[in-house]
């Protein structure tokens, strides 16, 4: 009994404390148009609407992060006239997707220190390379960012968050066809006078569904059976085509 009342006190604690803070969390409400991106056979990328309301005044920054990945970056060198992969670096915990949206240029909204602390902006991502010396690592890091921006995995869209009236805001978040599957988060920040005064986080999942998922799971869980099935399908299809064309 004593233990239970203690637990209730603990659960209530944030609720009791929050009104004491000046512009706290409830001054911001935001959500995504969907919390699930289903990868089906017709999937070719996705677009979600992120919308919300905040108390008057203040800039809005939206950060969407994908699941962390290990990424291998290889450098080509010309050897005997041919370009060959030589040095490589492995980056850990690289977000598989990373998008920053804001209503205006980030540098105008908050100081570099504030942005760095919250890892807002591609240059503030912690991307550490293994397997190369620090001097080289800078080049590999740049190459990684360059590649991910080109492929649409890293996006900075300053000025994309639009306001409707004084309180409402909205932005469209785009995902490329190759966006990794896994758990994503969308963070929404309200910044006033260079200080973050409100924040909210909402989850998002990217999953393979239907036939795509069945095929992928089958190939990875029972590779030998999958291989045999692939052979049988091909044999049947080849025979069928032969039979059809013989009659023609």
């Amino acid at each position: 009994m004593l233990a239970r009342s203690g637990l209730i006190c603990l659960l209530l604690a944030p609720v009791l404390i929050s009104p004491l803070r000046p512009a706290a969390a409830q001054d911001l409400v935001a959500d995504l148009s969907s919390h699930l991106i289903a990868i089906t056979s017709s999937y070719a990328g996705a677009e979600l609407l992120l919308f919300g309301a905040r108390e008057e005044g203040g800039d809005v920054i939206v950060v969407v992060r994908g699941p962390p990945q290990r990424v291998l970056v290889r450098q080509k060198r010309r050897i005997g006239g041919i370009w060959i992969n030589r040095d490589s670096a492995t980056f850990v915990k690289v977000p598989g997707y990373y998008a920053v949206h804001a209503n205006r240029i980030l540098a105008d909204i908050a100081s570099a220190r504030v942005l760095a602390r919250q890892r807002i902006g591609v240059e503030n991502l912690i991307l550490e390379a293994e397997g190369v010396d620090p001097l080289e690592a800078v080049l590999f890091r740049e190459a990684l960012i360059r590649n991910h921006q080109k492929q649409g995995f890293f996006r900075e869209e300053e000025g994309k968050v639009a306001f409707l009236g004084n309180r409402l805001f909205r932005t469209k978040v785009q995902f490329p066809a190759k966006t990794p599957v896994g758990s994503y988060t969308a963070e929404i920040y309200v910044v006033r006078d260079g200080h973050i005064v409100g924040a909210q986080m909402t989850p998002l999942f990217v999953r393979k569904t239907g036939l795509e998922r069945a095929v992928f799971d089958f190939a990875h869980s029972q590779p030998a059976t999958y291989g045999l099935a692939a052979i049988l399908i091909a044999l049947a299809a080849g025979w069928l085509a032969g039979a059809v064309f013989r009659k023609v």
Partner: protein, 306 residues
């Protein structure tokens, strides 16, 4: 219309895949090659990861070869005995090749090795065939006689002789076994049926008559590529059935048409055309190896990692 491929993990136009299948299938039926030597580079060009291109192409070649081989079987153009001997070598070669592929992939050199292998083999074979078919065409034009059925080589002294009725040969099984093994090895590394090597090897090294070469080649390709499909599924999980099905939907139609067109052409004309095609693909791949890439760095997300 876009389609998402579950193993390649990318979205591609369905019509592009069907068109690629049909075009390559046509050539496959016409020349009696699996078509992989064209399709594997094409898949890599449209952005399919090379390892997936190789595994998937092996799977697709099975189907394309079945429909082609059946067409030749009905015309009695398959030497089963020779096919069986080639196949024994092919099984050994492709199993070894699949293992080497896995090792090279871990070293990060598989893309380079795939391209280099294509350049070397396509260049050599294409040049040899071009020279030979030109010479035959010119000789025929001059004298109008066909020459001997096959030449006598040093290899006729090798042991373990076997009689191949259909090919009208009495030769040692060593050469067909070696040819089968080499082609099987390349099939596993390059995602090809190996017809572009098998066909000239059968004509020039084994001395088989051109009429049974194409059918017999397709026959053994079915089994070698089946082995490659199975091994790549187990080792690398890089066989995309959905991609293979779309390619083969185009390819089986193309192959039927190609087989008919091929029957209308003379042997050396067929070889001359194939030589030109082989050299063109070789030149493109060689150019890509030498030209400075847009970005000297390549980025590869690793599966199952933090």
């Amino acid at each position: 219309m876009q389609i998402y491929l579950p193993i390649a993990e990318m979205s591609v136009s369905i019509f592009l895949l069907l068109g690629m299948g049909a075009g390559v299938g046509f050539l496959s039926g016409m020349f009696g090659v699996g078509g992989g030597f064209l399709m594997t580079p094409l898949l890599i060009f449209i952005g399919v990861p090379p390892a997936v291109a190789v595994g998937t192409e092996a799977n697709q070649i099975i189907a394309a070869s079945v429909s082609g081989a059946l067409a030749h079987w009905r015309r009695g153009n398959v030497d089963l005995r020779m096919g069986g001997v080639l196949l024994v070598g092919g099984a050994v070669g492709s199993t070894l090749g699949a293992w080497v592929f896995k090792e090279l992939r871990q070293l990060g050199q598989i893309d380079l090795v795939i391209s280099l292998a294509f350049v070397v083999f396509l260049g050599t074979i294409g040049a040899l065939m071009a020279v030979e078919s030109t010479r035959t065409l010119m000789r025929r034009r001059r004298s109008g006689n066909l020459g001997k059925a096959h030449q006598h080589h040093w290899m006729h002294g090798l042991p373990f002789k076997m009689r191949f009725h259909k090919s009208r040969l009495y030769i040692s099984v060593i050469m067909p076994l070696i040819v089968g093994a080499v082609v099987g090895f390349l099939a596993a590394i390059m995602g090809v049926g190996g017809g572009f090597i098998m066909v000239p090897a059968m004509i020039y090294l084994i001395g088989m008559p051109t009429s049974v070469v194409v059918g017999t080649s397709l026959f053994q390709i079915i089994f070698v590529t089946a082995n490659v499909t199975l091994l790549h599924s187990i080792n690398n999980q890089t066989v995309d059935v959905m991609l293979a099905m779309l390619l083969l939907a185009g390819a089986v139609v193309g192959a039927q048409v190609g087989t008919r067109v091929g029957a209308l052409l003379r042997g050396e004309q067929l070889r001359g055309l194939l030589a030109l095609l082989v050299l063109a693909v070789c030149a493109k791949l060689a150019f890509d190896l030498v030209v400075t890439p847009d970005d000297l760095y390549t980025v590869l997300p690793l599966r199952g990692g933090e």
